[in-house]
Symmetry: D2
Subunit: 338 residues, 4 copies
């Protein structure tokens, strides 16, 4: 619930509202509305909201939020969240940020080559997957913890920022010293224990949209992370499952401007999984930026013909450079830069 205080409400009146809510088991958040008045957001189960708040002194009105999520909504924070990654990269501001790298780590050479190619083309963060969630138990499951040393080496040699996917709560703490950002994949968008663990991490989190999730469900998943205290969530559109068979998924770019209106969190797009078709990655990257996305997550493999997974959608370094040039032109046309 949102409790709007009267203009000139006194501090003790505000305190009484907060006390009252907190005694009912809710947390409170002070919000400064555009109109200048103080609003107190009551975070938690709405059914716990105490009766009679409207009648307290200094209270102007009490109303329900527009959406079931709270901390993620623009009613709780109107200005855009800017997520810092490392010391120099920010996602959600004027600059478009591109994250690129192979589907999964296969060897030190492969990741090093990928890092150099990504950096040369202007990517700021390296996709560096240790664990691969695979539909079949017999598929390549990723290099696993054996890859931690590779991460260290690549970070030292190239200075690239790194991100990696976590599949289990235990992995969050394990990978934290080695990466700058953690990622929760689409199959785990509603793995609530994992979301809570990411919410207790100090690292920023990329949360990928589930392949049949509505935007409200997506933002409620983000709310699980925010609600544990981690404000640094980057949403990633990666395609939804529809009747279409000519693409692996249907990249849903409508979600980009719609999410930007519903939430203050940054939104990036993964055109590689979102289409699953090599030739669509570059045009859909241009379209994503034109639609208002804050960045891209692109699969690029230094030797894609021998990739152990997702062969059909990983760009070559040369095609990735073309993508970056074209995306940069579109970014300029919509008032952004790389």
């Amino acid at each position: 619930m949102l409790v709007t205080m009267k203009n000139g409400a006194r501090t003790e009146q505000v305190m009484r509202v907060r006390d009252c809510a907190e005694r009912s088991g809710l947390r409170t958040k002070e919000i400064h509305s555009a109109a200048g008045s103080l609003v107190i957001g009551l975070v938690g189960d709405d059914s716990l909201c105490p009766m009679g708040l409207e009648a307290l002194e200094g209270v102007e009105s009490v109303e329900k939020e527009k959406h079931p999520f709270k901390l993620a909504s623009r009613q709780y924070q109107n200005h855009d969240t800017i997520v810092r990654v490392g010391d120099e990269v920010s996602i959600g501001g004027q600059k478009i940020v591109v994250i690129a790298g192979p589907c999964g780590i296969e060897s030190e050479d492969q990741l090093l080559d990928a890092a150099i190619a990504a950096k040369d083309a202007g990517a700021k963060i390296l996709r560096a997957g240790l664990f691969k969630p695979r539909t079949s138990p017999y598929g390549f499951q990723g290099i696993g913890l054996a890859g931690l040393g590779i991460l260290e080496k690549v970070r030292d040699e190239t200075g690239m920022l790194l991100e990696t996917e976590v599949l289990h709560t235990d992995q969050v703490k394990l990978v934290e010293p080695f990466v700058d950002m953690i990622r929760i994949g689409m199959r785990n968008m509603q793995n609530f224990d994992l979301l809570r663990a990411a919410g207790r991490s100090e690292k920023p989190v990329i949360l990928k949209r589930g392949c049949s999730a509505t935007l409200t469900e997506f933002l409620l998943a983000a709310e699980y992370i925010l609600n544990e205290g981690n404000p640094n969530v980057v949403l990633c559109e990666r395609g939804i499952r529809t009747f279409m068979t000519e693409t692996r998924n249907t990249l849903d770019l409508n979600s980009v401007p719609l999410l930007k209106s519903m939430t203050h969190l940054p939104v990036i797009v993964d055109p590689s999984h979102g289409t699953g078709v090599y030739s669509l990655v570059t045009p859909m990257s241009r379209a994503a930026i034109a639609a208002g996305a804050d960045g891209l997550l692109v699969e690029m493999h230094p030797h894609s013909e021998t990739a152990l997974s997702d062969k059909a959608q990983q760009l070559t370094p040369a095609d990735f450079r073309t993508l970056m040039a074209q995306v940069s032109a579109v970014a300029g046309a919509v008032g952004r830069s790389m």
Copy 2:
């Protein structure tokens, strides 16, 4: 089937292949392949294809087409089709073409105001719907033939090119003298008699994608029109039906680059029906052009607050001018102009 002739095949050898196919009830189309050799496309039911074509003199090989459509495919025509509308407008070339206007004609004043606003902002063709297919028999069904006089008046006064939807075979001939382009809506994408009637028209045809059509089905619908002799088909992506409820449809921009690779026909995008959400029309228009679309079909109403249908998605003239300015910038970034 595609019959590739040997280099240096003689005219009588080519004639024999054509004769043989035509006696079996197939039509033939001569195609000059990129490699320089002559290819004869056999148009019709593949099961009628005569045995033994490979053995004819001068024949190099006989192979099945990659797709079930033929005339629409890049194997039958590799260069882009450019559809002329009126004397001065071409869809499918370097220039982006925007079609705009109200959801349906409501009055002479309304259409005239819309035409002027559309023209001023740079639209080249006016959307001018006489007949409205409505989900309910009790909804406003369009002004009908009573609107033909309005079309004449608006064309005379503004010089705008006009397009209108046809719902029944009989309407094709009726509207032809009054408009420059006819449109087949998404509900009729597989109304095969209507497609055939449009295929016998001299006017170019906008064919909208059915809301649950694959691209192969979409191109087979276009093939019905091409197969009757009308080569001027413009494909229009207008959103598909998915599990998403936060938008009216899911505008599927993946279809734009994918269609461009499958067919030589121009592809435009309708972001108004494709999203059904006012605030998404402009960002998705930018994205459509960035993805490679050849044009847009946008609902704009001079007095949208009083519109008789689709109130929620028709732009005001002011917002339409903003759209045109932003789309123009993106067009420039991808090497196109308005």
Copy 3:
């Protein structure tokens, strides 16, 4: 709108309400509610509903219908519609009715064999398709009007009732003398001119659900037919398009009990198109009847290995007899008979 009259309202008061509505362009329907009071349904565009009806003498209340369709709803008619086909068959009553026959007519012998096999197994109506709507212009388009003589012959020799699909308004009158029932296919569920033509026919109509239609859209399509004066509409669930690729369509049996609660019209199920998989036709037929369907529309071909279309889903006569025996047992378990 639904106008409920007070108990004991006088005839002239009722007349005044009807007059008032009819002068506004609405039609009226007298409904006797379960509670015993007289309700006047106002059929047409709700926005035409005259102001002040509540204030007329004898009027108890005025309220909006629960659904956008009217004549099709249980608010307008609570008892089940029973559709008579020929002299002896009724759809929608206690008895389950099975319609069976080949996907399309191929020859006199084929249809005659099919009719005999269908009749022997207990089917009451023969599926006898003259016109085949085909995704490709090069597919077999049906035998067309040349098949009318075959219909006559088969009817004379076997006494079977016949049904056939119509694709164009002109075909309705042409086929009427030859068949007992006409069918509108899923691609034409929103071909509104065709619906209106069927609404002016004297034959009962099978209306198939569009493959991406909601039930409200389905019933609004039925409303187009009812609104022209033909009350004999049988709804047919035939599968929806989903992400599933292991079946051709997803037969949506939820629609059966849901439709039965929304409308008084009979509901049958087409498990052949609904699944597209031979081995699923019989189990899904059992399930349809268990869910409450009033009948089935099943593809059965006397020589299915040589069928010109839909080879994969047409039952052999032997398998059709098994289906009938199993369906009969399930019908008994839910209080129905064959």
Copy 4:
């Protein structure tokens, strides 16, 4: 891969094939084919399959499996798996098994009342959810481990078998002493660590289908469990996400006969989540059994008007008894009993 041995192949020839496969990192499973010959299934990553197996003495042929899953397929085990729960209940045999109970445990009284009502009506296993996966972090998350004592009490007092959902790997061992069956919910169908943990449990596992999972993906998820050594997996269809909004999900009964043809594992149906509509639970339960399901998982609440979650779909005890009577009649019609 499936290695078929020649008739009369000697033991040492079989041993050599197994050795060869196991040295390549594959496991082997001896299968006795219907034709009487010995087949050796090679379980693991097909790309590891050693070259030259065909050339080994005693080998008749080597072929790829029809599906990407192995242990779950009918090629690896043709006879139906019968899953024992407790001492007296079997799922997958002639008898239909019904699992019923509230959406979640709310109190000892609630679960005890539910157990008694379920048992009286003929249910064999009690649904007893400790942990509730909730879309919102602010929703009721279940009673948690505090409910373990309730489970003990209810088991002691009623003798009912119990099943409960696990959300995290750590919960598997914790709940094992208290329940007879564990359940993995639809959001966790591809939580691969959780599947592996269930695969190491001694309890039978209900695996619910993800709401956008194909059947191949579903069976690959089951394969994760089987591959860890737990053969007792019961598949549960619970509705898929489609464009339909008039039901919460689209219960996909096509999956029942299709799964039964692809796998030897038992298949049950959850009509409560599968439809989300109270009035559809009973008809869709009848339809599920008619389609060939081996059991049902039904939400029933002793006081459903005060339920803390899923109020709209939990049956009253009285309606549940009606369901049981109707399902029993349908079971009889398809040769099953309760």
